[in-house]
Symmetry: C2
């Protein structure tokens, strides 16, 4: 559907005003605020047209208009210009990342915090499952008599550990030797292939140290069970308290619960995701739970796998800023991942 210049301008004005104030926008206030040299009556006619076409709606007869979800969709598809991070904001993020040169988990948390602070919406960032990353290194470290640490390192530099009990009398050299066997067998395998059953071969190989290997295998199993899933980090959930549309306690409760309970959240993010910024407005969301919210999200590439991140806000959302921010942040962190890890 093609709109003429003036209709586009009016639609945009209404969207900007409505996003800012959360109030229906009237014809008078448009001419006043946006310096049009046509009369309110003309605007009214145009608005009536836009409503017929489905881009606007009226809460009730004597109120102004608000953009419909379709109106937002049109704006996002045909008119929006993404607003990237300012230099200042980029600098802030840079500093934040420099402070935490630590594990990627921490970095991700930092990025999530940044996203929610700069946008004033709730942010999420999903770290891809380690299942598909590659095993690099296993080390058995003696901790004290009777205990050792199983240390697993992956190719993206993720480090996981578990403590195990070992029989007395196993020397550090024994542990070293066992580690070496592990590494020989597992080199380059995918993490998800380190399953116990497939490593039984080791056990048969080295009868004598059977018990240590058994324990180590258990630890690896355990690590996989507990960390293999993708990880969801939410930041700034309380930002939604700022939005007037959630002054209703029940709504608020539903949404906060959705954001706080790990399990619930995963369901609302689409599976197939690209490196473009994608937008789902209100009922466009598959999951009913967030059909009164909008989702702006993108994928980021990390060592072969695809992570996801995005922002969650009201339908009346600053899509231009949200989309621009995500664009900027994605390129920044992909650079970072490429250079640092």
């Amino acid at each position: 559907m093609v709109l003429d210049e003036r209709k586009r301008y009016i639609l945009e004005s209404i969207i900007k005003d409505y996003v800012e104030t959360a109030e229906p926008v009237g014809s008078r206030s448009i001419v006043r605020k946006h310096g049009l040299n046509i009369s309110a009556a003309t605007v009214r006619n145009e608005m009536a047209d836009l409503e017929d076409m489905g881009y606007l709606e009226q809460p009730h007869t004597s109120a102004g208009r608000i953009p419909s979800e379709m109106g937002f969709r049109y704006y996002v598809d045909c008119m929006m210009e993404k607003e990237s991070l300012t230099d200042e904001e980029v600098e802030i993020l840079g500093k934040k990342l420099q402070e935490s040169i630590r594990e990627w988990n921490d970095v991700a948390q930092g990025i999530g915090d940044f996203l929610s602070q700069v946008s004033n919406y709730a942010s999420f960032i999903i770290i891809p499952s380690i299942k598909y990353s590659h095993f690099k290194y296993l080390h058995l470290v003696p901790i004290q008599e009777g205990q050792a640490l199983v240390l697993v390192v992956t190719d993206v530099g993720l480090i996981m550990h578990r403590r195990i009990d070992i029989p007395r009398g196993i020397s550090p050299e024994d542990l070293q030797a066992i580690s070496e066997v592990f590494n020989r067998v597992c080199k380059g395998k995918k993490i998800m292939e380190l399953r116990r059953s497939e490593l039984q071969i080791l056990r048969d190989d080295l009868k004598k140290r059977q018990q240590v290997i058994d324990r180590a295998l258990e630890a690896v199993d355990n690590l996989l069970d507990n960390t293999a899933d993708e990880k969801v980090l939410i930041s700034g959930a309380l930002n939604i308290l700022k939005e007037p549309e959630f002054k209703d306690l029940d709504k608020l409760k539903r949404i906060l619960t959705l954001l706080e309970e790990d399990g619930l959240f995963k369901g609302i993010i689409p599976d197939n995701i690209s490196q473009d910024v994608d937008i789902l407005i209100g009922k466009e969301n598959q999951s009913e739970d967030i059909q009164e919210m909008s989702l702006v999200f993108t994928g980021y590439r990390t060592a072969g796998e695809m992570g996801k991140m995005g922002l969650i806000g009201p339908i009346r959302m600053e899509y231009w800023k949200a989309a621009g921010t995500l664009d900027s942040v994605r390129t920044i962190i992909e650079d970072l991942l490429h250079n640092r890890f």
Copy 2:
């Protein structure tokens, strides 16, 4: 102040009713619900007395009475019987703990979750700073050419790690040797004494491996900076959404923010804390931010240090259940800590 039997019974009735319903309690409903064989008028006289003494108050002239903070205090001090966990609940906790035989951090999180679920209030659990625990073991583990892992183990079994860059040409044997020097010098020191300046001695000792030691020292510094403070875990913050006293959005926002932002929370928990269950009701709290809430908390002993945990709810709180729960959980986790770590 001593109250006669009947006044005590009436006070208790009012507290139980008010905690349950959050509504002012009238004289009629007391005789009705609690099967007293005196008339409402008599109860009214008693209530007037209790109000004069400060144990009750009236929101307005024509409403029923609600317990004052002083009334709750009297109840807690002189009448309350703690209600321990049921056998069922103990079993649930046991199962939960068995599932997570992992790090103490995870166990603590599990306990926090349990507390908030079983009580329907927000829970907190504070893991004491590792500053005062003792260094047990340091290990430098080669990860790949040019990188090593600094592994620090404390006497309570906490394991921390940081990755460092090392010059090419350092062999695993070199790392082993350096580790041994570290361990010799640091054995039995408190973690907070592992500060860089005090370990310079190492550096002078081994000119040749200077750079590795430098990096390792940096890593240790870094670990201390980032993990040395006590750690606060909050669970079930959203439980406060259930309480009618927080239907006011502003209040709600203040309190949720307090619970979600790490820094803010520490200020509201008293410093000196014993292994008894302690209760702070409303304005008894030092911190203004939670003077419209109550705090029920206790200390737990872990390897020499004192951790803290507790529940946060409205003034109209089920103190008996909260206090009993904390009592039970404390003994359970002290057993656990004693046996397992």
